[in-house]
Subunit: 119 residues, 2 copies
Amino acid sequence: MHLVPADRADRRTIDGHRVCEAIEAIGDAEHVRTWADRFSLLADPKRLALLLALHRTGPLAVSDLAIATGMNDPAVSQALRLLRAAGVVAGDKEGRVVRYRVVDDDVRLLLKQCVADGG
Amino acid sequence: MHLVPADRADRRTIDGHRVCEAIEAIGDAEHVRTWADRFSLLADPKRLALLLALHRTGPLAVSDLAIATGMNDPAVSQALRLLRAAGVVAGDKEGRVVRYRVVDDDVRLLLKQCVADGG
DNA sequence: TCAATACCTGCGCAGGTATGCAGCTATGCA
DNA sequence: TGCATAGCTGCATACCTGCGCAGGTATTGA
């Protein structure tokens, strides 16, 4: 198999066959980017705290999240907007209160793994 | 239980008891930060590609990783330095070749989950 | 000793991102 | 209608981060 793109086919390799395996292992670039973006959403302590709270406690209002995490309301709101735009959380409006919950299964698994580690 | 710190105990809550649950759910701040940092390491497509290659293919040399990912050597080297400093990968020197491998079990689980999703 | 290879490091630039502040909209209640 | 509350948005600032370039170290082989 010649999986090495033409623009770098002339470079010297150490373990030639392994390079092809590695390219195969990495897989589709789009898939990698999707997961990198997912990890990026969890890479901020504030956002991760919000998600952990939502994951383990269930639907929570914005201002309650703000009190629980020590953030101010706009900061929570913006974090949730980001997560909502990515399809990770969804909000249910009840009067003037919006309760958010986690709706992404992949993220749920990641959070579960995070909780399993002595959390 | 009064888990709400004094500096924000006077703020009005929507679901008072849930705030305490949420604080408990978030857990230790140090733990959250540790995981956020972990996720941060996987949040870059290039780094994630490197880790996927190492995870699925086994020990690989720096220049082979560079060819497989399309990065240039210094970029790979710097990414590996970051991962090495975080204890995620380790390098075995053989003459002038250094082969890296994944050594962090938590990260391995995350990568496995990433691979499991149609990768 | 000289040259080539494999890898590492420091530096500077460009681009992205979090954060605080002020102000806005919408709902509930009297 | 008037007012307080819940949440959202825009903007400016400071910060972080990835990336390429140039140059340095260590090992191999002639």
